[in-house]
Every structure is written in structure tokens, then in C-alpha cells.
Symmetry: C3
Subunit: 436 residues, 3 copies
């Protein structure tokens, strides 16, 4: 049993288990001045409802497949087949999987510190894509190196999506004092989808861009609103590179650490012309005055009041084993958490841009200080884990925003320039979750 029965015919090499998870969120978020109250206030949503399977087949083949129905539509978790020849150090993994995009993103949503992951993952489009990953692990599993090649989309109906992503991630987990330290580096080289055709291009599921138009933006630490305060707006670019660092330490009931990512965009330039290809649905698009750079990062501390140690395995967080679950007469595990999460989407090169006609090459100045903005979240969390398979998360979130597309309407009378106007919002959110 691992929540659900795990069937095994170890001699033949078969195993099989049904997988599932359910997360339901209820939240209240205060409405910034002069904003449409409809998208704020109370909301209730099923965030994830997944059913799937995992197993092994003879010859060290493995598989995992999860379908997500949370939006009353079809989405996916990992959908992969893997091969670990002779149980050696190398594993090949093919299918729909995270593009090696950072520890918290690769960690299952079941083990996140807070209800939502850090905002770099939302802002920079870290998600699953179709690809092949070659993974190496040292004999003691303390050092791991993964390299992957991905199509720039997930499982979808797109027939014309030719963007791609090359990615790599290395992690090292030395024992330090009473615990261990996790050190990780990750890198994604992303080539956006060219639009060599006359008709509008559909952005495939999980695509980091819409054709060669890219937009970086993040929701305020909740998925129960559709609003984004920090938002570059859409501009023309060929691709980007994302560089990330991960540093965490786990010492008994305490864990501490964080991650950061920097994205360097390869923008189109004023004067660029597309002679034989009509790359955009309309020929005139915003371009930056150079290659913009954006970044974000978070730092967090968590502590189990009830003595547990946070689960960790294979370079990501894992299930935490509850010491005194409610079925044994205990009260389960209680964890308190704090996090600061910062995102900087400001760039002079984008705020000073051009409206470029890709047919004629004629560019006119297009400047706006409302592009981008910074968003800082101060999060406090209390997590109750009555048994290994059930969780309740309570989060308080204070969001500080400076600049961005909404600053002008929230602070209409401010005498500051738009990029210096700041406002805030407070939210409280509750998640109920089980998995098997």
C-alpha cells in the first residue's frame, strides 16, 4: 500500500498502482482600489483533480501517466515512459515532463511549501513539455545530472509547433551537520515557435510563447484570481535563456533556503524585417531596444512543530512521514512556514521600445513605464498533515506591487511616475488535499 494498493510481480518485473490527487482551494483576496471586484473577493475552485497510473514493465521499463480534470477540461501531469538499462546510473525518460526547470517546479504539487509555487515558475513559463531526458545519478544518489531536449509544447492538438527547448540541471546533496544541503543549477535554452505561414498560429499547451510573441507575468501567489499585477505585456522575441540556482538546507525539523532564476530574452530589434516569412499575425509588433533581462527569487523557512523532517528524494521535495498520525491517536504533523518571494519584470530595454513594422522595417518609438513592474509576496503558512496522504494548508499572503500595467488605475492621483506607484493586496487561502 502506498495510499492505494501497489501490485507487484517482482520476478517478472511488473508493478502497477493507480494514482490520484485532489486539491480544493477557498480564498479571500482584497480588491486594490478602482479594480474590478469580480476577480477578487471570495472564490472556491478545485485546483487539481488527477487520476492516473504508474508501473514497471519487464526489462527495467517504467511508466507514469496522470490526467488532470480540474478546469473541467483535459490537462496532464507527468505522462512518461522510462528505461533504466540494467538498473545502471543512466535513465532515459520520454514524454510529457518538466523541462528541468527548477526544484520547486519539478517537485510534485503535493509537497509544495505553500498553496502555489514561487512566482518565477508562473512568470517564466516553467511547465511540462514533450521531451526526452537523459539522467545520470551517482552511486550514492547524492549527485544527479539531467539533460533534455523538448518540443515547446505539451500534449495537445497542435500540428505546427516547431519551437524547442534544450535544458540541463545538476544537483548535489552533501550531508552537512545534522542534515543535508541541496545545491542545484538549472538552465533552459528556449527557441520560440516561428510562424512561417499565413494563418494565425495556435499556442500549443505549455508553449512558452505565442508564436514569436512572449509575455512574462505572474498572478499574486494564488490561482483563484485571473489577475496579474506584474506583466511585461506581449513583445516580439526569438527565444530566451533561463538560468537558475537552488539552495536549500534541511536540519531535523527545520528547512531553509530558496531559488532564483534569471531570464535573458533574445528580442527582435527595431528595423528587423521578415522578407520571405510572415512571422506575425499583424505585421507591426512591439520590440525592445535591446535584450531585456528579468529575474525573481524566493527565500523560505519552515519548521515542523511536531518533530517531522521534510521529505526529500532524488533532488526534489517528497512525501513527509508523519510521526503521530491521527489514526494512531496522534494529532498529525503541524508545520509553520514563512516566505519572501520577489519578482522584477522591469527592464529599460522594454520600457523604451519600438513599434516595428516587420514588412517595411520602419520602427517608431513606443515607450511605457507601465511595462513590467515588481511584485513582492510575504507569505505565512500553517500546514496540518493528519496522515501521510491528507493535508490542509492555510496561507496568509501580503502582496506588494510597484509599477506594472495596473499601477496607473489603482493610484490615479499619485504624482510619482507609473513605475514607482505602489499598492498592495492581502489574501487568505485554505487548501484541502488528499492523494494516493
Amino acid at each position: 500500500w502506498k495510499g492505494a494498493p501497489l501490485f507487484a510481480d517482482n520476478d517478472a518485473g511488473f508493478t502497477f498502482k493507480v494514482r490520484g490527487r485532489f486539491m480544493m482551494d477557498t480564498s479571500y483576496m482584497s480588491t486594490p482600489d478602482f479594480q474590478n471586484p469580480r476577480d477578487y473577493g471570495f472564490n472556491t475552485r478545485v485546483r487539481r483533480i488527477r487520476l492516473g497510473v504508474e508501473g514497471t514493465l519487464p526489462g527495467e521499463f517504467g511508466y507514469k501517466a496522470e490526467v488532470d480534470f480540474a478546469n473541467s477540461a483535459v490537462g496532464f501531469g507527468d505522462v512518461v515512459m522510462s528505461w533504466n538499462p540494467k538498473k545502471g546510473p543512466l535513465t532515459l525518460t520520454l514524454g510529457n515532463q518538466e523541462s528541468l526547470d527548477g526544484m520547486e517546479q519539478i517537485t510534485s504539487s503535493r509537497w509544495s511549501s505553500f498553496i502555489e509555487r514561487a512566482q518565477i515558475n508562473d512568470a517564466f513559463g516553467n511547465t511540462r513539455r514533450l521531451g526526452l531526458v537523459v539522467g545520470y545519478k551517482s552511486k550514492d544518489n547524492l549527485f544527479r545530472l539531467d539533460g533534455g531536449l523538448f518540443a515547446a509544447h505539451s500534449i495537445d492538438a497542435s500540428l505546427d509547433n516547431k519551437g524547442w527547448i534544450g535544458a540541463a540541471r545538476a544537483t548535489y546533496t552533501p550531508y552537512v551537520g545534522p542534515g543535508f544541503v541541496h545545491i542545484g543549477l538549472n538552465w533552459q535554452h528556449r527557441e520560440f515557435q516561428e510562424n512561417n505561414g499565413s494563418t494565425a498560429l495556435t499556442a500549443g499547451a505549455g508553449s512558452p510563447s505565442t508564436g514569436q510573441l512572449v509575455q512574462y507575468r505572474a498572478r499574486p501567489f494564488l490561482q483563484t484570481t485571473g489577475q496579474r499585477f506584474a506583466d511585461t505585456t506581449s513583445f516580439a522575441a526569438k527565444g530566451d535563456d533561463i538560468f537558475g540556482v537552488e539552495l536549500y538546507g534541511v536540519f531535523n525539523s527545520l528547512h531553509v533556503g530558496g531559488e532564483a532564476q534569471l531570464v535573458k530574452v533574445r528580442s527582435y530589434s527595431a528595423g528587423d524585417r521578415l522578407v520571405s516569412r510572415d512571422q506575425f499575425t499583424t505585421n507591426t509588433q512591439l520590440v525592445a531596444s535591446g535584450n531585456p533581462t528579468f529575474w525573481g527569487g524566493h527565500f523560505e523557512v519552515g519548521y515542523f512543530l511536531t518533530g517531522e523532517t521534510r521529505g526529500y528524494k532524488n533532488g526534489t521535495w517528497d512525501r513527509t512521514k508523519v510521526l503521530n498520525p491521527v489514526d494512531k491517536g496522534g494529532m498529525g504533523a503541524f508545520q509553520i512556514l514563512g516566505r519572501v518571494d520577489y519578482l522584477d519584470l522591469n527592464s529599460d530595454k522594454l520600457q523604451i521600445g519600438f513599434s516595428n513594422n516587420f514588412t517595411t522595417g520602419v520602427a517608431t518609438a513606443s515607450n511605457s513605464l507601465a511595462r513590467g513592474g515588481t511584485q513582492t509576496g510575504y507569505l505565512a503558512g500553517l500546514t496540518w498533515i493528519p496522515n501521510d496522504y491528507v493535508r490542509f494548508l492555510l496561507n496568509y499572503i501580503h502582496t506588494e506591487v510597484e509599477g506594472g500595467p495596473k499601477a496607473a488605475s489603482v493610484k490615479p492621483t499619485s504624482t510619482k511616475t507609473v513605475d514607482k506607484r505602489s499598492y498592495s493586496s492581502d489574501a487568505i487561502a485554505l487548501r484541502a488535499q488528499f492523494d494516493f
Copy 2:
């Protein structure tokens, strides 16, 4: 085994079972005069195809999740997690579940007397929503009381749905003579979704209204046609209350009884203005001249020719155990059923209405006797249950309609007023079903 294997680790508190159901309907329905024949005649549909899981986790936690694919889209059955602390009288159930909306609606579709449920459930929007239910049951499980608070939508992608429902249901099942009687009361207080915003509002899945526009209507006892004969058309309202009674008796192979519900609408009035909120996509909407009331109810008799007793459990119908299933050389169970089902959607207060401009408060008379109508169904059923998990239902349905939006076109030469013109339709339908 309960159709499919039920796995249990009783010491640890784990159980797990895969669930599924399949219902395929074929029907023929006669076409009322002058109506478009396309929506009548023969039709074949898969009504439900569901896959899911159920189980328990240590500490008296339970879960159930069913996804429905019948429209080649994603729908849901119950998707809930529950907690029954110390196996006591109280159970908390969180997730996508019926809003305590009446015995036949809460009963699984697998155990319905007829192919479709009574028309009050269709007309008044009884369905599943996201909510939390606190349930109490007496030690002998003869008395049950449930109270719940629900969002006015189901699992969907809506981010702005702020309607809510408070609901309660009480049932009592005393032993009477050779069987028992089921007495139930149910109540739903529904607040429709305000539309505090400038853009059109999407009605979430399972929402009882579209924003603050509500429409009560019912199909003619089949889901193989898209037509509704009785239909209030859409009008502006803030919410409604639904009051229901349930009364059934089961005596050996006989069961008899029925349910009724009355809905009292809180309508907007002529002259109402919405000063700071634009509540409707167009400012001028139909309002009633008072708070309309609608109601419906059914009465049914069923009898097992082969000696079975209709299954009943926890305040709803349940699986009937076949005495002589075909695999034991028997002929299975045969049940004959009859039902009269009446729905009254007429209301003077709606037929005499106003077209109200919510910006100016100027209202002009808008009267129509074609709003609403009554629909009466006379249903006869024969159900064959070859074993506990397979069913075939044959229904004959005679539908009588008086008034409603189609009466004028079906009876164009009648000298009666539109609300007094009556017509009928006959249908025969066959369902094949299995579940596990």
C-alpha cells in the same frame, strides 16, 4: 468484490476500489405539429460513461471521485473527501456533491426508477456544486440531518463566480408494518451570482443562473432531445429558495411515493436601478411584477414481479439485490413501474412583467402568456436486472403540455389563449447499463 475488486488493508485503514458506470440510451419521440423534426424521432446517446475511484485513508478519512465523459467532454460525479472523526455521528464531506436537493436527485443515477429523474430536478437546477456538508446520523441511522454551504458552481475554470447556496435536508425512516417509510424535507437558499464587472460573465458549470438571469425549464423526460416545452424564459432575479418534501414507502416488493418541490424566486422589480454595478451584459432585462412561485411533483408505484425489495440506504435508493440472477440459472429481477410527473411553471407575476432598464430605472410593460406552461408526464417502465451490476430499462412516456413557448406554433389555429393551448408527445426509450 463489489463489481470490481475492493482492496482493503483494514489494520492500517486503507481501502481502494475503481468505480465505473456506462449508460447508453436509444429512444424514439413523436414530433409535435409544426416543430422541427430534427430534434425528435430516433436518437442514440451514451448518457453516462464514468470512471473513478473510491477509498479510505487512515484516520477515518474517505474519498470518492468520478469523472464523466458522456458528452465527449469532462464532467463529474461526486468528487469528495470526507472525514468521520472516531466513526462518530458526524461526517464532514468536502468537494463536488449534490446541494442536498432531494432524494431522487441525491440517489445515484444507477438506481433511478426511470431513465431520467423527475422533472423538478431538471427544471429547478438540482445538481452538484462545490461545498462542505456537515452530516449527522442517529445511532440506528434512521434519522439523518445534513447542512451544507456551497459555491454556486461545480468543478470548472470560472474565476469570478461568487453565487452561493445554503442547504439543509432531514430524513427519517421509521419501520412501518412489513417495511418502512421514508420522510424527508429539503431546503436550498440560493444567491445568484452578481456580475460586478464590465465584461460578460460565464456561467460556471452547475450554476443555477447565468449571472443574475434565471430560467426554469425542463426537457420532456428524456435527455435525447434538446427541446423544452415548459420554459419560463430568462428573467432577472437575485436568488431563490427551494422547499421540498419526500415521502416514500417500501413494503416487500412494492414501493410507492413521490416528491415535490416549490421554488420561490426573489425577482428584480420594475424601477430597479444598479447605480455602481453593471449587473447585466445588456442593461434592459425582463423582470417579474412580483416574486414568482413555481412547483412540481411526482408520484410513482413500482413492483418487483420476481420478489426483490428495492434497495435503500442512508436516506436514498441503493443497489437492489437480485434474488435469482442469470448466472445462477435464474431470470434476474423484473420490476414494473408507473409514474405521474407534473410541473407548473406558470406565474401571473412573470407573465405580467416589465422590460426594465437597469440604468435609468424606466420600465415598460412586457406581458406574455407564453412564459412558463405546465408539463405532465405519464410514464410506464419495465426494468430487467439480470444481475446486481447490469440493468435494462424500457420506458414509455406520454407528455401533455399546456401553454409554454411552443404552444402557439404547435397549435396555430387554436382560438384559446396561448397558455391554454395543449398538445402532447409520445416516446419510447431503452437504456442499457452496467456499473462496478
Copy 3:
């Protein structure tokens, strides 16, 4: 175990198994001259991701249900319940199933010779529909006869789809020399959906036509492009009949054979009028000058280098048992394959047609040699089967096209008539697959 655990309570007559399959394709296809390169070149897609169940219930009832999520939407494999009274020669199968449309089409996609099935199946709309099949098999299971009646759609939300299909298939499998021969005949009589109404008709999933407009066309042996080189374009017809022959031989590691189908269309004629029914969304439609006939067929050879015999069961291909799987220290099975696949969508009767006004009956000549075209595929395949549940398919495809809608733009300077201009494309494709 059959990939996943097979649970059985043989005394009671219960069995249960979870089913699944995953197929991921990567391909490169060369772009014909002057064509939009977006739909060619590299592409990566998940072709099928299915989860489902199968089992038996007491009394010789059986079921199978598979949901497909490959387009990030809901599709279906077989969704059926069956009854085999007293394990006799007759079996009734009800639900979503192939309309007895040819051996390769009825064969599971897991056992196809090449990545995609022969183009007759794509061109003539062979797929699953809702229906009832009565099947007879001889005691030695060498002779099988199936007859079925189907609605002309699959599991979907359509409420007005009244087309239907009658179909029959007979197969005989005598032992011949060191192996056996499969001889099959199949026939489908298809009546297209009448559109007796004023609003546009949605084509149900799996419908062979859109209302009474039909279009025969085929992709170039891959589903990683949306292009079709051979295409009749859409014309008005009442229905069609499809006649098919199947002939294969299996002798030790060799298999050889093929299939062909001929479709005879019942076209509308110039001068036809629709007095009381508005059958088309626009009244003027293309009609042929007679009843067109189209046909296609393929011939293939396959050989296992590693000694296996291709799996065959119940009149279709089945799972091949690997002699030396990788988990036993072997190298798995290797099969080489070759196929020629021809499709002829040319018809004088369609190329010489009329634009017919169905209101007035006035027809004007509408001739085009670009309607239809022929497409010939030369395919070479290498299949590696490391164990019974995992497969890798490598296909090389050379496509020759003559005529059709794209010939004029690919060969703009040719002096030949459009129907004689020919061009080609080359493709290489790789599939990774597992199932359980």
C-alpha cells in the same frame, strides 16, 4: 498479469483489469514546393494516451471502456458492454465500436504494421460508432460472421444525428501449410444525416459526413501533419456503400497480404430540389454528374528477424509474443516491413459536376480536375519490441501524389492538366509505445 494485474473471482464470474496505452510520435516530413512549411518539417505529438478498464460480470456479461486524451480533449476507444449467453456461438456487443470496417481498422492501434493504418481507413471514414453488433463464431473459431446496426456518430453531445450504418463482416482463417490464411469480406451501408431543420448541423464525432455533405480525403501516412494531398472536396450525397476485401497469410516469421475497399457514393443530382426540408446550410451545393466510385488498397510484407510469429486472434492482429525479451537477457524482437498503399479519389462524375440550387433546382456546370487525385505510399518499417508491452517503430515513407487540390500550386509551371501533375514528399517517423 497482462501488463497490469488481472483480478478474477472465477467462481462468481468477475474479472477486472485496468487498461492503458501511450504512443508518442516524432517525425520529419519534407515540404512540397510552394507549400506552407509550417505544416511540414519536424513535429512531435502524443498520438494516443488512453486509460480504461475491462472486465466481466456474472452471467457472461463483459465490458471494456477506454478514454483517449491525446488531443488534450476527450476521445474514446472501445466503450462497450457485451453478452455471450451460455458461452455459446453468439455474442451481442453494444456501445462505441468499429463499424465492422476492415481488419486493420478493427485491429488495435497497438498492433498496426506501420505507425498509421492504411489510407483507406482515413479516406473513407472508418472509425468507431455507437451500435449493436451480433457476432457468430464457429466452434473452432476459424469462421466468424458479424452483423451490426450503428448510429452514424460516436459518443458526443449531438442531439440531432439521425444518420445510420448497417454493416457486416465475415472472416475465415484456414490452416495452410506452415501457417494460416485470413480471408475477409466487409460491407458498410451508410445513410448520411439528413438536416431537416433551419439551423446548422453539427457533425457528431465519428460521423462519415457533415449533414449530407461528404468529403473523402487522406493524410500522407502520418497524423503529425494536418495536410491532405488527395481530397475530393465536399459535395452533396445521401449516403454510400463500402465494399472491402481482406487477404493475409502468416507463415512462421513471415506475413504477407493486404486489404482493399471500394466506396460507391449515392450523390444528389443536378436539378434535385428539397421542397419541404432545408437540407443544407446554404442552398447551393456541389453535386456530381452521377454516382462516383473511389477505391484504395495496400499490400505489405513483414518478417521477424528474431523468429517470432505475428500475433493473430479473433479475425484481427493481436499481441506478438517476444521470444527473447530484454528482461531475459535477449534483444527483443525485430521486425522489418514493407508496404505499398494506393488511393484513387479521382472520378469523372465528380470532376464534372454541377453547382445545384436545392431551392430552385437550377444547376450550373462546375468542373474541376483538381477534385480528388491519387496518392501512393511506399513505406519501409523497422519495429523493435523489447518486451511484449513496449514497442518502438521506425518508418520511412515516400509519398507520390498525382492531381488533387494542391497539384496546381506545387507544380504551377507544368504544362500538364492539373490531374496529371505529380509531386512527392519524404518522411521519417519514430514511435515509442507502451501498453498494459
